[in-house]
C-alpha cells in the first residue's frame, strides 16, 4: 500500500474573485491579522462568509506564525548558480529547559539540486549534504570528526523537532517530528549529522554574512543583526594572533640587540670618587664642594652613587651637580637609610646602605659637586663614598619597552580568547573560565 507520503500536488484549482456588486477588480488588504477584500469601484466589502475570503484568512493565520526572511518563491544566486526558495522550516531544540529555534530555507535548482540556508539569531549558513562520510576520530574527548583533511570539534548534540513548515521539502517534513542532530565545528565550517532510526545524513555548512544573503536574493532593507557568537562563526582575529606574536618575537630580538649595543657603546666610566665623613653632632656649615672633574662625550646621564656604612641610621644628602663653566646645575636630594634586626619571624632588614641615582641629560663639561648632608643628631659619624659614573645604561627603560611591546599582543590574545569563550559558552563543552562558570 502506498505509504503516508503525499504525492505531489496536481494542477492548481483556482477561482477568480470579482466584486459581487459591480464585477470589478477587488483588492485584498490585511489589517492586523484579518484579511478583508474591498472593491475599488463600488467600495463594498466582501461578505465575511464568502468562501474565498475564508480561504485567504485561514491561510494568513496559518502562515503568519513565522514569516520567512526570504519569501518563498524568491530566486537568488549562490556560488554562481540560481536557486529558488521552495521551503521553509523552523526547528526547535531544548537545552536545560530553554527552547532555541532556528530557521531553514530549502533552495532548489532543477539541475544542481538542493541547498539549504540556516539562520539563527542573525547568523546564516550555506549548507549542502555530503557525498562521503566524515571520519570519526576515535578516543577523542570531546569527540572529533575529520573530513577532507580538516578536523571538526563536537559542539552540540540535541533533539531537534520541527515546529513550523511551509512549502516543499525533498523529504516529508511534519510538525512534531524530531531527529537527533550533532554539530561539529571548524570555523567557518560546520558538519552536521542528523539521525533517525533508519537514516544518518551528514551535511556541511559554511558561515555566511546576513548582508551576503540579502545581496544574493536582492532582498529589501537590511538583514537582522547577528547576536552573540555562533558555533562556526569565523573569529575576526584568528590568523592575527599568531602573526602578532611572531612580530613580537622579532621586535624582542631587536630589543635585545639594542640593549647589547647600548651596553657595549656606553662609557660607563668612573669620573670621580670622593671619601667623606659626616658628624651629625657637629655644628656649623655641613655643606662642602668637591674638586672638579671632567664629564666627557655626548649629552648623556651621570650616575651618582652613595656608599655608606649606615647601621640602623639614616642620612640625607642634598646634592647639586654644578657645571663650572655654564653655571648649570642639577639639584636633587637622596635619603639613604638602613635598618635591620631580629624578631619572632626571623631577621629583617629595611632600606639599603647604598644609593644610586641617574641624573638625566647632562651635557659634557667640567663639573663639581656641592654636597650638604643632614642627619639625626646623636647618630654620630657616618663614613660615605661618593662615586660619579658617566653614561650608565638605564635598564628600567628596557623593562618599560618590553611591557609596551607585550601590551598589544596580550590584548589581542585576550580578545581572541574572549571570542572563543563566547563561542563555546553555548555548546556542550563550555570553556572553563577562571572567574567561575555560570553553573
Amino acid at each position: 500500500m502506498s505509504a503516508g507520503g503525499r504525492t505531489p500536488p496536481g494542477k492548481p484549482q483556482t477561482r477568480a474573485l470579482n466584486c459581487p456588486g459591480c464585477g470589478a477588480a477587488l483588492t485584498v488588504r490585511s489589517f492586523n491579522n484579518a484579511v478583508t477584500i474591498v472593491c475599488d469601484s463600488c467600495h463594498s466589502i466582501l461578505d465575511a462568509k464568502d468562501p474565498n475570503l475564508q480561504i485567504l484568512q485561514q491561510f494568513k493565520a496559518a502562515t503568519d506564525k513565522d514569516r520567512p526572511h526570504i519569501p518563498l518563491g524568491t530566486r537568488g544566486k549562490i556560488r554562481g548558480t540560481d536557486y529558488e526558495v521552495i521551503g521553509f522550516e523552523r526547528r526547535t531544540i531544548h537545552v536545560e529547559g530553554v527552547a532555541y529555534s532556528w530557521h531553514e530555507y530549502v533552495l532548489f535548482n532543477p539541475f544542481k539540486g538542493f541547498r539549504y540556508l540556516t539562520e539563527y539569531d542573525g547568523h546564516w549558513n550555506d549548507c549542502s549534504t555530503l557525498k562521503a562520510l566524515p571520519d570519526v576520530v576515535s578516543f577523542s574527548s570531546p569527540p572529533k570528526v575529520k573530513y577532507l583533511g580538516e578536523t571538526y570539534k563536537h559542539f552540540q548534540t540535541a533533539r531537534a523537532s520541527t515546529s513550523f513548515v511551509l512549502g516543499e521539502f525533498p523529504w516529508q517534513v511534519r510538525v512534531g517530528e524530531s531527529v537527533e542532530v550533532s554539530d561539529y565545528v571548524s570555523p567557518p565550517r560546520v558538519l552536521s549529522s542528523e539521525q533517525t532510526g533508519n537514516e544518518v545524513t551528514w551535511s556541511m555548512g559554511e558561515y555566511m554574512l546576513g548582508r551576503d544573503v540579502w545581496k544574493a536574493f536582492r532582498l529589501p532593507g537590511s538583514p537582522p543583526e547577528a547576536k552573540g557568537v555562533y558555533e562556526n562563526q569565523p573569529s575576526p582575529m584568528s590568523g592575527e594572533v599568531k602573526s602578532i606574536w611572531l612580530t613580537f618575537a622579532f621586535l624582542l630580538l631587536a630589543l635585545v640587540v639594542l640593549m647589547i649595543g647600548f651596553d657595549l657603546s656606553a662609557q660607563n666610566k668612573d669620573v670621580f670618587t670622593g671619601y667623606y665623613k659626616y658628624d651629625s653632632n657637629q655644628r656649623g656649615e655641613a655643606s662642602f664642594v668637591t674638586d672638579d672633574f671632567e664629564v666627557k662625550g655626548h649629552t648623556s646621564n651621570v650616575e651618582l652613587k652613595t656608599t655608606t656604612d649606615l647601621n640602623n641610621r639614616w642620612i640625607y644628602l642634598n646634592y647639586a651637580l654644578i657645571n663650572e663653566t655654564t653655571g648649570q646645575a642639577f639639584d636633587f636630594g637622596r635619603e639613604v637609610s638602613y635598618y635591620h634586626g631580629y624578631d619572632s619571624d626571623g631577621s629583617w632588614s629595611e632600606g639599603s646602605a647604598n644609593d644610586a641615582v641617574a641624573v638625566p641629560g647632562v651635557p659634557p663639561g667640567r663639573y663639581y659637586l656641592r654636597v650638604e648632608p643632614e642627619g639625626d643628631p646623636g647618630h654620630g659619624m657616618t663614613y660615605y663614598t661618593v662615586t660619579v659614573k658617566r653614561d650608565v645604561p638605564q635598564y628600567s627603560f628596557y623593562a618599560i619597552a618590553l611591557g609596551a611591546l607585550l601590551l598589544p599582543a596580550i590584548l589581542l590574545s585576550w580578545r581572541a580568547l574572549s571570542f572563543e569563550h563566547l563561542r563555546w559558552a553555548e555548546s556542550d563543552h563550555p570553556m572553563i573560565s577562571t572567574s567561575g562558570g555560570d553553573e
Binding site: 502506498s2 505509504a3 503516508g4 507520503g5 503525499r6 504525492t7 505531489p8 500536488p9 496536481g10 494542477k11 492548481p12 484549482q13 483556482t14 477561482r15 477568480a16 474573485l17 470579482n18 477588480a25 477587488l26 485584498v28 477584500i37 468562501p51 480561504i55 485567504l56 485561514q58 491561510f59 496559518a62 502562515t63 506564525k65 518563498l72 518563491g73 540560481d82 521552495i86 522550516e89 532548489f108 535548482n109 532543477p110 539541475f111 544542481k112 539540486g113 538542493f114 557525498k131 562521503a132 562520510l133 571520519d135 513550523f164 513548515v165 511551509l166 512549502g167 516543499e168 521539502f169 525533498p170 523529504w171 516529508q172 510538525v175 532510526g197 533508519n198 537514516e199 544518518v200 545524513t201
Partner: protein, 209 residues
C-alpha cells in the same frame, strides 16, 4: 514546478503561484485576483509538500562516466515514506548496463556486483568491506515501485514493499543492497556531481535556463 501554474479562469493566461501552497495570486493580464481552492489549509504550516517529479534526466539523456558514454534508456520511480527517487537505467557504449540514481538531485552511479556474500538483513551502522573499501550502512529504506518507463533489465513489476540498504564510504563511494529478490543483490558505485557527467539532452524546465 515548484511554482504551480494554472490558467486564469477569466482570461485563460497562465498565472503563477509563488510557492506550492500559496493560495493567492494576481493574473498579470486581466488583473483579477485568483484564490486557490485545492490547497489543504489544515496542512499549511504543519506538513510540507513534496516537489513534483523534478529529475532533469529523461529517456534519451546522454552522458559519460569513466570515459564511457551512456544513454538513459529506462527508469524506475521508487516511492517510500518520505518521498521518492529515480533509478535511471543506463546503457553504456560497451554494452553493459548500469544505474544512475537521482534522489533529490543527488546522483550516484552504480553497477551490479554479483558474487559477494551478503547478510539477510542489516542495520544502520553496519560495516562491510568490498574491493578494499570500507562501507557503512547509512540508510535503510522500505520502498515500492511507483512507476516504470522505457527499457529495464528485468520484467517484474510488483507493488509490495522491498528493503534497500544504502551504504557510503569515507571516499564518496556508494553501494546498495537490494532485497527485492530472494537473493539480496549488491550494487557498487560512487556519488557523482551533476557537472561531472556531462549530460546532454536534458529535460527543460520552464523558467530555468
Amino acid at each position: 514546478m515548484t511554482q504551480p501554474t494554472a490558467p486564469c479562469p477569466n482570461c485563460g493566461a497562465q498565472v503563477v503561484f509563488r510557492w506550492s501552497s500559496s493560495v493567492q495570486t494576481v493574473c498579470e493580464y486581466c488583473k483579477s485576483i485568483l484564490v486557490r481552492t485545492d490547497v489543504d489549509l489544515k496542512k499549511v504550516g504543519e506538513v510540507a509538500d513534496l516537489p513534483p517529479d523534478s529529475s532533469p534526466i529523461q529517456i534519451g539523456t546522454e552522458g559519460s562516466y569513466n570515459h564511457k558514454a551512456f544513454t538513459a534508456i529506462g527508469r524506475i520511480i521508487y516511492e517510500y515514506e518520505q518521498g521518492n527517487w529515480n533509478e535511471w537505467h543506463l546503457m553504456l557504449n560497451d554494452g553493459t548496463s548500469g544505474w544512475l540514481s537521482d534522489a533529490q538531485d543527488e546522483y550516484a552511479i552504480s553497477f551490479a556486483a554479483p558474487g559477494r556474500k551478503l547478510p539477510d538483513q542489516c542495520r544502520v551502522g553496519d560495516r562491510f568491506v568490498w574491493d578494499n573499501e570500507g562501507y557503512e550502512v547509512t540508510t535503510i529504506t522500505k520502498a515500492h515501485y511507483r512507476g516504470v518507463q522505457g527499457e529495464l533489465p528485468f520484467q517484474y513489476w510488483d507493488k509490495t514493499d522491498v528493503i534497500f540498504a544504502d551504504l557510503r564510504s569515507l571516499t564518496g563511494k556508494f553501494a546498495t543492497i537490494d532485497y527485492s529478490d530472494e537473493q539480496p543483490a549488491l550494487y557498487l558505485g560512487e556519488m557523482v556531481e551533476f557537472d561531472a557527467l556531462g549530460l546532454k539532452n536534458l529535460r527543460t524546465f520552464e523558467g530555468w535556463s
